[in-house]
């Protein structure tokens, strides 16, 4: 079985990137965005991935079943701006085989 999955990530300029992400490195979606430099350094994952800044907010465009929101993520999204019904924090989405083919769009910087 392949250890890599495919993701479609639309950046803040509206450009969609087809990304290959490893499932065996304990990465999350925010870290994938950072490692592929899809958003300017310092504008994403500011809190380091603790669901405390909402800089990695993204809109989930595909129908994947994602892990349930933790209280921390829910609380952060309650305070964040540009929040939509399909908003999630990238740092709370682990890269696992189950999300192969996931399509997301980065929320605007705020």
């Amino acid at each position: 079985m392949s250890l890599d999955i495919n993701l479609k990530i639309t950046d803040r300029n509206g450009v969609t990137h087809d990304i290959v992400a490893p499932t065996d490195m304990a990465m999350n979606l925010m870290e994938v965005v950072r490692s592929y430099e899809l958003a300017e350094e310092g504008t994403i994952g500011i809190c380091g991935g603790m669901a405390m800044c909402a800089s990695c907010q993204c809109y989930v465009k595909s129908a994947h079943e994602l892990p349930e929101m933790s209280d921390d993520e829910d609380a952060m999204l309650a305070e964040a701006f540009h929040v939509e019904d399909n908003s999630r924090l990238g740092c709370q989405i682990q890269i696992t085989p189950e999300i192969d083919g996931l399509e997301v769009e980065l929320a605007p910087e705020s």
């Binding site: 300017e40 350094e41 310092g42 504008t43 500011i46 809190c47 380091g48 603790m50 405390m52 800044c53 209280d71 829910d74 609380a75 309650a78 305070e79 964040a80 701006f81 540009h82 929040v83 705020s110």
Partner: protein, 351 residues
């Protein structure tokens, strides 16, 4: 004017540890931080989160790390300018610097060390077109003087602890308190949520959910806000103050316009040598800097602070020679005359 050897901008872990390393070299430090307390992110964002990669601590809470760092530097009597943001820097003819804060406090230093982490934490502002026109004219992001709101109408926006706590507090001060939140659920402490519910039932807090403030009205100062509640037409609430409380967000802030070389929102430094920026005498250490291979880790900030202080010493005392000593050998001399050293073994002469 506050005078010091090293002016440290940022009182997070790296800034605090700089005081210790500078103290070993008998250099005096003063710290400026936009937050009202030292500790940076560790105190403000995650004081209760454990950190696992601090050497010799298998696990330490971020708040305890700050507490320990403050204890470790106490003997070097650092000065603090807290709750103020470093705004401008002026290089003097003799190579020293004057740094002025947003409140006009001036600091004169031989060397400046920027340890600003991710930047200064600034209130997260709602995305309202004209909001900046009303700042300090009825729009406040931080409540500093509750008496300002005595017998005034106040609208608070937000759903976290700050919004709940201030709504409760001001219900006894203001003539009218309205709390607006985008959701029906609040994510603050249970006690606070229940207290707001109780005050709402008593008619002391006007609670509007799920709703958002979509506009600010007024000419010279705020006179009202436009509110949109889900499923209803927009309406206006007359108010004297609009207080949006949506937490804090880090920004590089005024440092970004000091003429420093910036790359990807961080300050470029000479990491091969001493973490100096493109302006001699100004260093950048910790998360705020960048160089090839940079890692944003607290322990890397500590290392950078140590090397930076050695370079600062040479800059301040170009004619003096300093030999690096281990604290196990030389002990630690506090500025207050205290001395810490390992007990010496008793040596008995052989007859």
């Amino acid at each position: 004017m506050i005078t010091t050897d090293i002016l440290i901008i940022g009182a997070g872990p790296t800034g605090l540890f700089t005081v210790f390393e500078a103290g070993l070299l008998k250099l005096k430090c003063h710290l400026i931080d936009a937050l009202p307390q030292p500790g940076g992110q560790c105190s403000e964002i995650y004081p209760k989160k454990p950190i696992y990669d601090i050497p010799a601590y298998p696990e330490i809470l971020a708040g305890d790390l700050t507490k320990n760092l403050l204890e470790q530097i106490k003997q070097f009597e650092p000065g603090f300018t807290l709750g103020e943001r470093a705004e401008t820097i002026d290089k003097q003819e003799d190579g020293t610097f004057i740094v002025t804060t947003n409140k006009g406090t001036k600091h004169h230093a031989k060397v400046v060390a920027i340890a600003g982490g991710l930047g200064s934490f600034e209130p997260r502002k709602p995305l309202l077109e004209n909001i900046t026109n009303f700042e300090d004219k009825g729009v406040e992001y931080i409540i500093k003087e509750p008496e300002l709101y005595r017998n005034k109408k106040v609208v608070i926006s937000g759903g976290g602890d700050s919004a709940l706590d201030w709504a409760i507090f001001l219900s006894d001060v203001a003539s009218e308190v309205t709390l607006i939140h985008r959701r029906n659920e609040f994510r603050g402490a249970l006690d606070s949520v229940e207290k707001v519910q109780e005050l709402k039932n008593l008619g002391k807090i006007n609670l509007i959910t799920p709703a958002e403030v979509k506009g600010i009205l007024g000419a010279e100062k705020v006179t009202g806000v436009v509110v949109e509640k889900k499923g209803e037409d927009g309406f206006i609430i007359d108010t004297d103050h609009f207080i949006p409380l949506f937490g804090l967000s880090p920004k590089l802030g005024p440092i970004g316009s000091w003429g420093l070389e910036i790359e990807k929102n961080a300050i470029k430094v000479n990491n091969a040598l001493d973490y100096q920026t493109n302006i001699p005498g100004i260093y950048a250490i910790g998360d705020v800097n960048t160089y090839p291979g940079k890692l944003k880790l607290i322990l890397c900030g500590f290392h950078e602070a140590t090397l930076m202080c050695q370079s600062a010493y040479k800059r301040i005392f170009p004619d003096k020679k300093y030999v690096m000593k281990y604290t196990t050998v030389g002990g630690v001399d506090g500025f207050d005359g205290t001395r810490k050293e390992a007990p010496k073994a008793v040596v008995k002469a052989i007859q």
